[in-house]
């Protein structure tokens, strides 16, 4: 990685001054209210400072003044693309405080919801990413059409499209309505067909290849040292997936593979997500085949009042490891509540990846990190 070499610029004969551009918070491709203070030499990025916190809304402190259950809807709003996995991580943490048996059907439904969420996230991320590359929204529109179908399923099951608030400590809020599983299977069965078209449109396009290959390379070492997780880590060549490592829920029952890249550039990050979608479809098919009838809620106490304990619950969210750290002090409210947001931690390497690249690449690299500002700023 090329460090910002100001001396080099000065030596170059012509005495040029750096152009400071403040990209954001109102910029079309910072994915929300995010700002990059970029120093440019011509079009080359020589320094970059990510500035965030514009969307800070006191999520963690708020949770300490609320009952455990009442905080569940707020976790939806962390990463508003993946409310289901957010719920799961929080439920997993809270279930660690009180021994609750989650019924079989609920476990299956949790997996189905989480993998559908992964599809939603990845498919729209790829759309946004290609939008950042400059395609005029065509892949995004295709992605959103598929996303709509899955969101329809979410609405049917939980009553809301994005802010699902569906998971409960010890199960799920309600069972899925009659016929839902068939409709879900229909959506899942159609999905590979769409993926084929999507891959044909994007994966071999020479412009996309030359715009993304070798851009924003994140080395294996830096990725591990910086605590990067999720598809970004796998793109850098570390096949680390919490679904395999922790095997939380019932993930050990499903056959699926974990794709990983070698170079760690934008193309790898983009392709790892494309391939992960196919694996998610595999998991979904198995889960939809194997789902049993039965109860949806375990025997949870009506008032959730855990004994003093510390617990950390984590899931493999679509963006990386999403963890909730809770300290209970015997009251109905958590004593300490902390989120480990994958978006924020993945964002920390933005500067390292952008230095020496063109300004257009900075946008692409930011897009390939896959951030949601609701989660970054909390």
């Amino acid at each position: 990685m090329v460090a910002p070499n100001y001396e080099l610029i000065a030596q170059d004969g012509l005495e040029t001054s750096l152009l400071e551009v403040s990209m954001g918070p109102h910029h079309p491709s910072t994915h929300g209210v995010f700002r990059m203070d970029v120093k440019l030499d011509g079009e080359t990025v020589v320094d970059l400072k990510p500035v965030f916190g514009y969307l800070h809304r006191n999520h963690e402190k708020l949770a300490e003044n609320m009952s455990y259950l009442a905080n569940m809807p707020f976790t939806d709003r962390l990463d508003y693309f993946n409310s289901m996995t957010n719920n799961w991580a929080y439920a997993l943490a809270a279930e660690g405080l009180v021994e609750i048996e989650v019924p079989e059907r609920a476990e299956y439904l949790r997996v189905i919801m989480a993998e559908l969420t992964r599809l939603v996230n990845h498919v729209s991320l790829v759309g946004f990413f290609v939008n950042d590359l400059g395609a005029l929204g065509t892949p995004l529109m295709y992605a959103f059409r598929e996303r709509e179908k899955i969101l329809d399923l979410f609405e049917e099951a939980s009553g809301a499209r994005m802010m699902c608030n569906y998971f409960r400590f010890g199960g799920l809020r309600c069972d899925v309505p009659a016929g839902w599983l068939d409709r879900a299977r229909e959506v899942v069965d159609q999905f590979p067909e769409f993926l084929d078209e999507y891959e044909k449109l994007l994966c071999e396009n020479e412009i996309i290849l030359s715009r993304t290959q070798g851009i924003g390379t994140l080395s294996r070492e830096l990725a591990i040292n910086a605590g990067i997780t999720g598809p970004m880590l796998r793109a850098s060549g570390v096949a680390y997936d919490l679904r395999k490592v922790d095997a939380y829920g019932i993930y050990d029952r499903f056959q699926f593979r974990v794709p990983y890249g070698e170079v760690g550039d934008c193309y790898d990050r983009f392709m790892v997500r494309m391939l992960e979608m196919r694996e998610s479809v595999q998991i979904l098919r198995q889960a939809l085949d194997g789902i049993p009838e039965g109860e949806i809620m375990g025997k949870a106490p009506r008032v959730f009042k855990p004994k003093p304990a510390e617990v950390y619950g984590r899931v493999e969210g679509p963006k990386g490891e999403l963890g909730f750290y809770l300290i209970a002090d015997g009251t109905p409210k958590p004593y300490r509540y902390r989120v480990r947001p994958p978006s924020l931690i993945n964002l920390t390497v933005l500067r390292d990846m952008c230095l020496g690249q063109k300004i257009a690449d900075a946008v692409v690299i930011l897009g390939s990190i896959d951030i949601v500002l609701g989660e970054v700023d909390r």
Binding site: L69, E155, A160, R173, P177, K200, C203, S210
Partner: protein, 235 residues
């Protein structure tokens, strides 16, 4: 930089197929066309938005069986809804509401005695996020989610603060918008009520029995006393 590969052309083939296909295959379309919808009939809930041309405007579809927007208060019918309101102003929802958008005041009769219903029940829907936590914590099944969403108003402060009267809806309305959920809830309530009544009955019987026993015991005691007295007298 190279354009020699076929990637660009295969991409262009995909877009051309979509261009042509969007005219023939309505499944491809991302958006729905509502231009044929009769004018002046704005849908009032999500269920009323039909999906295809020709489909009638309907009150409900199964898609929105669980759909939730803002809470409403249930009453069990009758001319005066306030008599049949289920809410007993226990204020659990007020405490549990994550964004703290519910405001309840208890109702008292002229003697200052608490009658089990709310005098004020306000929900600020500019704050409410429709999370349904209040529905879950309510022990009396009195608050459920409405799916009506055309709530826009020119008045930012008063218009968005729904009062008791705005929130009161009959159980029939609930059945109309969320049939399955309402049925399940009614069943559960019936079961609970039956259980409660059985319990009450059992309790009443037990009490009756107890009372009878007590009475009998008292009578016996009295009889004994009396006999004792008599005995004493006899002695």
């Amino acid at each position: 930089m190279s354009f020699l590969g076929g990637g660009i052309f295969s991409g262009m083939a995909v877009t051309l197929r979509n261009f042509v296909g969007s005219y023939f295959d309505p499944d491809r379309l991302t958006t729905n066309d509502y231009s044929w919808r009769p004018e002046g009939q704005l849908p009032q809930s999500a269920g009323e938005y039909p999906r295809e041309e020709g489909e009638q405007l309907s009150d409900t579809t199964t898609v929105t069986n669980y759909s939730r927007n803002f809470p409403m208060l249930l009453h069990d019918g009758g001319d005066n809804p306030m008599d049949a309101i289920r809410c007993v102003a226990c204020q659990i929802c007020e405490r549990e509401c994550p964004p703290q958008c519910i405001y309840i005041e208890k109702d008292y009769d002229e003697n200052g005695k608490f009658i089990k219903r709310p005098a004020v029940f306000d929900i600020d829907i500019s704050v409410c996020m429709g999370c349904q936590i209040c529905v879950e914590v309510c022990p009396f099944d009195s608050i459920v989610m409405n799916s009506q969403f055309e709530l826009s108003t020119p008045n930012r402060f008063d218009g968005l603060l729904l009062h008791r009267g705005d929130l009161l809806k009959s159980n029939d309305y609930y059945h109309r918008i969320h049939p399955e959920e309402a049925k399940a809830r009614d069943q559960r309530m019936a079961v609970e009520k039956a259980a409660k009544e059985a319990k009450k009955k059992a309790a009443a019987e037990a009490a009756k029995k107890k009372a009878e026993e007590k009475a009998r015991a008292e009578a016996e005691a009295k009889a004994q006393e009396e006999t004792g007295d008599k005995e004493e007298e006899a002695q």
